[in-house]
């Protein structure tokens, strides 16, 4: 079936079977590989994208459910104010190690700072709980979210 959606600001039509996770449409059909496959069961957050501005696990989002939606992926984050601040903080603090989960971490962090520009440590823990990092870069993720908050406030 043909599904129309807006991807990173561009109207896009994709051809996919109903029930296909948005993740695989983004990765395999649209070839935007910044969005990662980590678990397939919404347990690690590596596949996080924004659907109409909301961080969403694309591995558990069926393509037919995002007809007409605005999908934003990591590739478009530098064009947003919050996204650019988060990426700047991530690079400043060298958050990444293997880096595989970091697109998802950043997509969640942008979601957090968009709705809560001054998050407490507890807010960060609550919001970011579903994003796993096997390298355990959490220490720096926490600090980089606070740094991004400062960048946005400045």
């Amino acid at each position: 079936m043909a599904i129309s959606l807006k991807l990173n600001g561009n109207p896009t039509t994709v051809e996919a079977e109903p029930g296909t996770p948005l993740l695989w449409v983004i990765r395999d059909e649209l070839k935007l590989t910044g969005t990662k496959f980590g678990c397939g069961v919404a347990s690690c957050g590596a596949c996080t994208v924004h659907v109409d501005g909301e961080p969403t696990r694309s591995c558990q989002t069926y393509i037919e459910d995002v007809e007409g939606a605005e999908i934003t992926t990591i590739e478009a984050m530098e064009d947003t104010k919050v996204g650019a601040a988060v990426q700047q903080a991530w690079v400043e603090m060298d958050v990444v190690q293997c880096g595989y989960c970091q697109s998802g971490q950043i997509m969640s962090a942008v979601g957090l700072l968009t709705e809560n520009p001054k998050p407490s440590v507890d807010d960060i823990h609550d919001y970011m709980h579903g994003n796993a990092c096997r390298c355990a870069t959490y220490q720096r993720i926490r600090a980089a979210i606070q740094r991004a908050s400062d960048i946005l406030e400045a």
């Binding site: 397939g40 990591i74 690079v91 060298d94 950043i106 355990a136």
Partner: protein
């Protein structure tokens, strides 16, 4: 550190560089092609762009930045002026100098084995460029230097790129002078940033999973429900319902059925509809409980091997005759590595009849040899394109090159016209994996007058090396050292110490897991040290220092990190309601001490408030990377002992995905402080050594808070909960 880059190596590549880069096969010089391969580790383009050819794969532990730092330091460019590429598989040039003729990453050796080699490479490139400039300017080379990529001296300046063509025709210096530590700009500089940060924050980093070759097929494998099952037959009639399904075929070794499809989701869908008959006659049938019973039974018998080469009878009698005896039996379960990027790789046919493997390849020589055999190709017709790896923790280097072989088998039975991308799901990773072996320890420590008089230590568990291609190299006198490393060979000078080993049968494929044997030996050594200190009514730090009082460098460095961590963590002065636990361990040449500070209690939930870490890894090349590796190593160690284990029922792995093997989450450790010891010793590893002391420091803190000493892991299984 007396290793040298051979003169011949430089010469061969320098002359090859002219050929490759300067002259096309038709004999004509290509316009603009003025790049020159100055030596196998450094490439300098005519625009001055410097590229480090990194022989170690990047799984996050930092060699892309680290090895580039060494080159940039010697060459005289800034860290912003260098980029990196991963080396091809060619052990003649890119072998790990600690691994004989084997190219690969492991044992926290990337920086340690490259430190001299990559500095010499950078220095040789610098000398050539300076000589070319001196010739061009008609001045003496001794007055020239390279600063930020600019050759300067004799009243002239010009970018290094101007001298690339001339330099590439010159003979490389045999023994280029190295920059003295007093002049280092980049080595030891905490402001040097990771070269791979930008691409890993904007989605542009290319992991092997991100490769989409034109016309590729995706293959997923249906594997037996437990280890050792073989395909007896299959029915793929239902798979045709899936749009994009291509076909299914039994792998030549009958270990699974390959399901080929146009894309990943179609492959997963089709595999779900595949029906396979398994011949389970040779398959594993045991449960984890039986495995544990085997290990515990082995601990009740005398050990097979005398690891410490000491008199067991004398140790036993010393312990028996002591005033106080502290005895404990420990159990460590199977653990999965679960790197964030599920295993995958892609194989394609080349126009020359060879094949290329695209892989986040940890140890290229293994899959290189395996593919050469499977495809019946000479080694030079098998190429490996090493890509970024989304974690490994040991999983991507197996003695039998398991997933690369699986991909090769899935490719070899096709017409080889379409590239085959093998993809593992998270469930495949969790259930069909290689695991940290299950291990038990029993230790009896005898104390008289507050001092250890005997330490009787028996390790029983599944060997990693036995039965693999590495057995001949890694097993001595029957002893797999990786089962016992970190016990008798550690810096502690323990009177009357005996360590014995008994191998128990393997129920799964066992594999090194971040810090290998130290994952369990450090836990046992450091928990027992605390228990012994308690029995002696001594402070745990002071008690340990008594066994590190020797004049040897090994004792001094270990004692130093222990003293420092006590100072940094304000040992013994935890705020009200907080409890501290300490552990110190040497692994892979690196000394790490950690203090965990917790609040709460095991019934209502422990909160890990902070971990303070002091590391001595010799010269700290990239201090911020070292800190990151300590942070990550601590998280990896603590995350697993909190709540993770792989269990078997009737031979089948019971865990499927992350909900059953819950990873460390952001709130689990509230803070980590890392301090690096200043050192002039040769650099040692940092990828693994942060892990071993983390779990025992936590265990000792929990014991301090509650009196509960957790001897069987994971902790949540023993009734210790975390908030």
């Amino acid at each position: 550190m007396t290793m040298k880059v051979s003169r011949r190596g430089f010469l061969a590549s320098a002359s090859a560089a002219v050929l490759v880069l300067g002259v096309r096969p038709d004999g004509a010089l290509a316009a603009g092609e003025t790049d020159a391969m100055l030596n196998p580790f450094v490439k300098v383009a005519s625009d001055g762009q410097v590229t480090g050819i990194v022989k170690h794969f990047e799984k996050g532990q930092g060699p892309a930045t680290g090895l580039s730092t060494l080159i940039a330091e010697e060459l005289g460019v800034s860290i912003e002026q260098i980029t990196y590429e991963f080396a091809p598989s060619n052990p003649e040039i890119y072998a790990n100098t600690f691994f004989g003729g084997f190219q690969g990453t492991g044992g926290s050796t990337a920086m340690a084995n490259s430190f001299m080699q990559y500095r010499q490479a950078g220095a040789a490139a610098r000398e050539l460029l300076i000589k070319a400039a001196a010739d061009a300017w008609g001045v003496d080379a001794s007055g020239l230097k390279i600063v930020e990529g600019i050759v300067t001296g004799g009243g002239k300046t010009a970018p290094i790129g101007d001298f690339v063509a001339a330099a590439s025709t010159m003979e490389a210096p045999a023994d280029p002078p190295l920059t003295p530590p007093s002049e280092w700009r980049l080595i030891g500089n905490p402001d040097v940033r990771r070269l791979d940060s930008p691409i890993k924050t904007n989605g542009k980093a290319m992991f092997a999973m991100d490769l989409h070759l034109p016309n590729q097929m995706v293959a997923v494998i249906s594997r037996a429900p437990s280890r050792g099952g073989l395909v007896a037959g299959f029915d793929d009639s239902a798979c045709s319902e899936v749009k994009g399904f291509i076909r299914a075929a039994t792998l030549p070794n009958k270990a699974g059925v390959a399901v080929y499809a146009e894309d990943t989701w179609a492959a997963f869908q089709a595999r779900d509809l595949l029906s396979v008959d398994w011949d389970m006659s040779a398959a594993e049938t045991r449960s984890s409980d039986e495995i544990k019973s085997e290990i515990m039974a082995a601990l009740d018998e005398a050990p097979t091997y005398n690891v410490s080469k000491t008199d067991h009878a004398a140790t036993k009698s010393a312990v028996d005759g002591a005033e106080t005896v502290v005895e404990q039996t420990f159990y460590f379960p199977l653990l999965a590595h679960a790197p964030m990027e599920p295993l995958n790789c892609t194989i394609e046919a080349n126009a020359d009849g060879g094949v290329t493997l695209h892989d986040g390849c940890q140890a290229p020589t293994g899959p290189h040899m395996a593919l050469s055999q499977i495809f019946e190709l000479p080694m030079e017709k098998v190429r490996i394109n090493t890509m970024l790896a989304g974690g490994s923790f040991g999983r991507r280097a197996t003695p039998d090159a398991d997933y690369q072989v699986e991909a090769a088998l899935a490719f070899v039975i096709t017409d080889r016209k379409r590239p085959v991308k093998l993809v593992w799901s998270r469930e495949d990773d969790m259930r069909s994996g290689y695991y940290r072996p299950a291990v038990g320890h029993r230790v009896r420590v005898g104390l008289t007058g507050g001092k250890i008089v005997g330490w009787d230590h028996h390790v029983a568990g599944q060997s990693i090396m036995k039965g693999t291609a590495f057995e001949a190299m890694a097993v001595r006198d029957g002893i797999d050292h990786s089962s016992v490393e970190g016990t008798a060979d550690g810096p502690y000078q323990i009177p009357g110490m005996f360590v014995g080993l008994t191998d128990t049968p393997k129920a799964t494929s066992t594999l090194w897991w971040r810090s290998v044997g130290h994952t369990h030996t450090a836990y046992v050594m450091e928990v027992m040290m605390d228990q012994a200190a308690k029995a002696a009514s001594a402070d745990p730090v002071e008690f340990r220092l008594a066994y590190l009082s020797g004049e040897g460098d090994d004792q001094k460095r270990k004692a130093n990190v222990l003293r420092l961590v006590a100072e940094k963590a304000n040992w013994g002065n935890a705020p009200e309601g907080r409890y501290q636990g300490v552990a110190v361990h040497k692994s892979f040449g690196t000394y790490v001490a950690e203090i965990a500070e917790i609040s709460g209690n095991p019934d209502d939930g422990i909160v890990i408030e902070n971990v303070t870490c002091v590391v001595d890894c010799g010269i700290p090349v990239n201090p911020d990377v070292i800190k990151a590796q300590m942070e990550g190593g601590i998280g990896y160690g603590i995350g697993h002992v909190m709540r993770d284990q792989i269990t078997l029922a009737g031979g089948e792995v019971e865990q499927y995905n992350f909900p059953d093997y819950e990873p460390l989450r952001i709130s689990d450790i509230r803070g980590i402080d890392v301090h690096i010891v200043k050192s002039e010793a040769a650099p040692s590893g940092v990828g693994e050594p942060g892990t071993p002391p983390s779990a025992p420091a936590l265990a000792n803190a929990i014991a301090a808070a509650s009196g509960v000493m957790v001897a069987s892991l994971p902790m949540e299984e023993e009734g210790v909960y975390f908030a």
